[in-house]
Symmetry: C2
Subunit: 109 residues, 2 copies
């Protein structure tokens, strides 16, 4: 079990939970404090903190304390293990890589 695999494991595991994906996606809108994040969902604050801890350990988010609040933000580099996994086997789904490439092209606009 190389560290690469372990990193992929943490990222896949973190994104496998729907609540955690929803929290992560909501952070793509921008930095937010735990209290704000909690208000967006119908789970308790400890549950949110636990999800954030999992996302943080996976490297998908970072935290910044400011006074009593702790602001979480997306760490884009955390997606790298996922990209690496896809890229490593990219030769096997060429059709979809082409489709993905086209999607990515729209980014420059």
């Amino acid at each position: 079990m190389q560290p690469v695999v372990a990193a992929q494991d943490r990222v896949f595991h973190a994104l496998a939970d729907r609540s955690r994906r929803a929290i992560f996606e909501s952070l793509l809108r921008g930095e937010a404090a735990v209290k704000e994040i909690t208000a967006r969902f119908e789970i308790s604050q400890p549950a949110v903190s636990q999800h954030l801890a999992t996302l943080k350990e996976a490297g998908l988010v970072q935290a910044r304390r400011e006074g009593r609040s702790v602001y979480y933000r997306v760490e884009p580099r955390g997606m790298q293990p996922l990209f690496d996994w896809i890229a490593h086997y990219r030769a096997f789904w060429p059709l979809h890589v082409g489709r993905l490439e086209r999607l990515l092209e729209g980014m420059d606009e």
Copy 2:
């Protein structure tokens, strides 16, 4: 919970398990019967069948019976929910999209 989300859920969940990812990756080498797949790992045949069932329900593999053997193969379109999820939020990790694009370029060689 739209069907899109459910599909993403199944794909992320299926790929979250390391054994399942290993089985899936081994199938990228080509079609293989359950017995052959079982020989590649150190888990029992029922465990392999259960993993294959999960991968199949996620749409990541397909099965084909031939005599007593059942051959499993990768279904490339099954990755679509994963690509869709990445593409949907692609605007948020531009740096890595660039890196991913470069990786994809190597495909044409």
